[in-house]
Amino acid sequence: MLYEDGEYSTTRRTLTASAVLLRRLHLDGPLLAALAAVAAFGLFVLYSATGENFAQWLRQVEYLVLALVTLVALAQVPPAWLRRVSPLLYALGIVLLVVVAVHGTVGKGAQRWLTVGPVRFQPSEIMKLAVPMMCAWYLHERPLPPTLRDVLVLLAIVAVPAALIAKQPDLGTALLVASAGILVLFLAGMSVVVILAGVAALGAAVPVAWHFMHDYQRQRVLTFLDPAQDPLGAGYHSIQSQIAIGSGGVFGKGWMNGSQAQLEFLPERSTDFIFAVIGEELGLLGQLFLLGLYLTVIGRALYLASETQDTYGRLVCGSFALTFFVYAFVNSGMVSGILPVVGVPLPLVSYGGTAMVTLLASFGVLMSLNRHRKLVGA
């Protein structure tokens, strides 16, 4: 209806040309647009959150370009190759995690970096992709829902890397890796009874775990429950980020006008706590806008997952879509004080190249799996 006025409308021609290009490149337009919107919003906020550090902002732009290139590249890989390479990727990841445990570079008190020539990277990031791909590979040929034996095997596949990562220690990444694997199990139709039993077992484990915890670990838990207990120590992040958000109000204090952020009361303002900067400077509206963009990304990704034809593709796509949700939920929950403080970045907004590349890589895989379908009936 919109294009009724003529066959030769330039708008229509451009749109058609774009659609052709996207299809050739095995890319999904709506998802790519939503991701681009999040990234653009992120760059906008980051400029203020870095304290107008243009050099840092430019580096983030470079990361974004690199991540987009990765996305497009991965989208070109045929799904069958991806499936076949899954166990190899997983095995490589395990080896690298062991290497990093022995030889890695210590950064911010945790040993998670591996330097190969000029490249420094975190093997744990590979696992964010490799674990769900490995789980899906394992389930691909098997009838679903998985049997209890399958579930146990898969839990082992998830637990080994998660434990290695948690030991670095990098609780945030371990959590993301584990959830990516478990989401595959969930999507594969693991019995609700088993899920409930697992949750119950975890609940029962809490007092036991408490018993075995070190004092400082207990302190962390207590601080999460009541940040005011330790306002200058572990509770500081939580309190300051809530002050930042709360003082922002509905409309915020204005871009680059957040006193909490600009005067550095807010720690990690450009990385893990950037959501608080949005709250302070752009207000409730800014935060809801971002959450809306996230929901769009997740919704579109889930839709694409449901469209995917083979088991492997469906499981991987669904897991990636929901992992993206986990990022968004855990970070926004932690910054707003309803979840404990764990190092999970705000997807595509927090400063940092690693998470950016990994996230867009996962969407590259997702598009490849979805867009290389055999056009049955089309």
């Binding site: 203020s48 304290g51 107008e52 040929e141 098997r142 009838p143 679903l144 829902p145 049997t147 989401l183 969930f186 999507l187 594969a188 139709g189 809530q242 002050i243 930042a244 958000i245 709360g246 003082s247 922002g248 109000g249 509905v250 204090k253 204005g254 680059m256 006008n257 957040g258 006193s259 909490q260 952020a261 600009q262 005067l263 550095e264 009361f265 709250g279 302070e280 409730l284 935060q287 809801l288 959450l291 996230y294 929901l295 997740i298 919704g299 889930l302 997952a305 449901s306 088991t311 469906r314 499981l315 669904g318 929901l322 949700f325 968004a328 939920f329 926004s332 929950g333 707003s336 309803i338």
Partner: protein, 632 residues
């Protein structure tokens, strides 16, 4: 077996998958709504609460200390001013380990080791965010030492402040007092908000007494700080409205003190221990207030070291002790004019009646002799001659007739035994004994023999040099009684208006017969004439001096022992005293001089008074005018 039965059913698997996807989509939406609800709680419902918290986070009050009021002498010469000085200051909340920081500052020689514990206590009792001065005045080399190591001392900074400076150094220090670092004790009774940015407070003298005038009112400036408490100039791209309230400088004091006369008096007493008080009888204005030895108050304002302070405190000559206001001495014969007034007031004696002085006095019914200072006696003396020659026997007898309680009443009326009410703190009342006092203090009756001693200014009687000068001023004014005072005017710092303080006139001292003043003053005039005990000091004077000498025993001799100065240790020698006013017929200045262990009043203390009179009345200065010290 079972596995072989199960085959992949793509249709049902897809249905299962889509069910799970839907479930996940709904769960994700709900969970993000929970986050949204949380945000609503923080940003809408508790918005005001968090706005307050964030405001408190970034805006801090920085105190602006007021400039301390200045002091001027009667000629408008600045005698207490403010000059810039570099101070070393520590802000407790920016220092992780205060004891360690202080220790390391001591290790590089910026603090003395023995200061560290006191500083630690001071820092603990102050406010966390207020800078505490560690050193009040840094030398260039101290600044250089610190500058290269500043990075090792986060939270410690060099600041420029105005520091007190006394250009005349040790001159008049007991009158002016000094300021020094605010101590833990001071913190307990000051309004901390008014002293938030101040490093020093007036301790003694006028600096202490007039602290409320001199200090002024602190101002404040709201400053933007970052999370480290460091000042920042701007907030991101935005601006914030910050309030500033300028401090109000302290008021300036104008003194009746004449710094040149003060210097003359101090130089005249140089090398001795003693005091001089010079008062204008027609206003009570103090022209000179001297206590020697003295000390340099600039040391206190710039942060005195423990060693230097201990040296001052433990000096046998007690330079810190204000002899003029707090030294209680037997007045010796300087009390005689007052005793004579008492005798006339009570009608106890006929001033013209003569009495034979044979060199000693005995109480009726007693054989114990009370010796005159002149062994052979003064022969026939009336009241005027008794004052002129300082005849002890005449006043022994007069005191005996008056009795201690009438003496007590008369001397108290003339200002002895009580505070003069001078406008600077710290004076002591001395002591005028009475039978009631002795009963209370010693649970003993008063003995008539004790009255005899009081008659010549010995015994229990103790007076301060200030009281003597005040009494001399009353004699000069024939009963006119002005309260002694140092400050004559105050200049309001804000308006520049000078508020003159009218002299405080106390009720005139009324005598039954006004002629009594003339009799006593005549006697005092004759003291400086031929045959008087101080005839030497008036030689060549173009004006007439009325005076009375005094020599007070420090060391009690046995009844028949003779006092021989060279046999007595220096510190046990007699105190020399002298009261005088001049010109005798129209007095402009009354003076009391005390020289501790100076020997005879006429020869040791009298010449000091003469030099003061020459300087004040004739503008005659023997020495070059006092040099003004340059700020170090």
């Amino acid at each position: 077996m079972r596995r072989s039965v199960r085959i992949k059913d793509h249709w049902s698997e897809q249905r299962l998958f889509i069910g799970r996807i839907l479930f996940a989509a709904i769960a994700a939406t709900l969970l993000l709504l929970v986050v949204g609800g949380r945000l609503f709680l923080l940003q809408v419902l508790k918005h005001d609460y968090y706005v307050d918290l964030s405001q408190g986070n970034r805006v801090r009050l920085e105190p602006l200390p007021p400039d301390r009021g200045l002091m001027y002498d009667r000629h408008g010469t600045v005698i207490a001013e403010n000059t810039p000085a570099y101070t070393l200051e520590l802000t407790p909340e920016q220092v992780a380990d205060v004891p360690d920081t202080l220790r390391r500052l001591a290790a590089i020689g910026l603090l003395e080791q023995e200061q560290v514990p006191a500083l630690e206590r001071l820092i603990r009792s102050g406010r966390k965010f207020e800078a505490v001065p560690l050193r009040l005045s840094l030398s260039d080399s101290d600044i250089a030492t610190f500058a290269v190591r500043q990075f090792e001392f986060p939270g410690v900074e060099i600041q420029t402040r105005l520091a007190r400076w006394y250009p005349y150094g040790d001159a008049g220090v007991h009158a002016l007092g000094y300021v020094a670092a605010i101590s833990e004790d001071d913190l307990k009774h000051i309004d901390r908000d008014q002293y938030a940015g101040s490093a020093v407070i007036g301790k003694i003298g006028l600096e202490g007494t007039y602290e409320p005038e001199l200090h002024g009112n602190a101002g404040f400036r709201q400053v933007l700080v970052n999370a480290q408490g460091r000042r920042v100039d701007r907030l991101g791209g935005g601006t914030v409205k910050l309030e500033t309230r300028q401090p109000r400088a302290g008021n300036d004091l104008f003194l009746g003190l004449d710094m040149r006369i003060q210097k003359v008096a101090e130089e005249a007493l140089a090398g001795r221990r003693g005091a001089v008080v010079a008062i204008e009888p027609d206003s009570g204005n103090i022209v000179a207030l001297v206590s020697v030895p003295t000390f340099d108050p600039n040391k206190f304002t710039r942060g005195i070291s423990g060693r230097e302070y201990a040296a001052l405190r433990d000096d046998l000559d007690r330079p810190l002790f204000d002899r003029a206001l707090r030294g209680a001495y037997p007045p010796g014969s300087t009390i005689k004019p007052l005793m004579a007034l008492a005798g006339l007031q009570y009608g106890a004696i006929d001033p013209n009646a003569t009495r034979f002085c044979r060199g000693y006095f005995t109480l009726p019914g007693s054989s114990r002799p009370y010796h005159d200072w002149k062994k052979e006696g003064h022969g026939m003396v009336d009241m005027r001659k008794a004052i002129q020659t300082s005849c002890d026997v005449y006043f022994y007898a007069l005191a005996d007739v008056l009795g201690i309680d009438r003496i007590h009443d008369a001397l108290t009326k003339l200002g002895m035994g009580k505070l003069t009410g001078i406008d600077v703190g710290g004076e002591l009342p001395g002591l005028v004994p009475s039978s009631e006092w002795k009963q209370l203090k010693y649970k003993q009756a008063w003995f008539p023999g004790e009255t005899v001693s009081v008659g010549i200014g010995q015994g229990y009687l103790l007076v301060t040099p200030l009281q003597l000068a005040h009494a001399a001023a009353i004699l000069a004014g024939h009963g006119k009684n002005f309260r002694p005072r140092l400050v004559t005017a105050v200049r309001d710092a804000a308006t520049g208006a000078v508020r003159k303080l009218p002299p405080v006139e106390e009720p005139r001292i009324e005598l039954k017969d006004e002629h009594s003043w003339d009799i006593v003053v005549e006697g005092m005039e004759r003291v400086t004439e031929a045959g008087g005990t101080a005839s030497a000091i008036a030689q060549g004077a173009s004006y007439k001096i009325a005076a009375k000498t005094g020599t007070a025993q420090v060391f009690s001799l046995g009844q028949n022992e003779k006092y021989v100065a060279k046999n007595v240790a220096e510190r046990l020698r007699d105190h020399a005293l002298f009261i005088a006013f001049a010109p005798a017929d129209a007095p402009k200045l009354a003076v009391a001089v005390l020289v501790e262990n100076g020997g005879h009043g006429g020869s040791a203390a009298g010449p000091v008074a003469r030099r003061i009179f020459d300087a004040f009345l004739l503008g005659k200065f023997d020495a070059a005018p006092a040099a003004v010290l340059k700020v170090e």
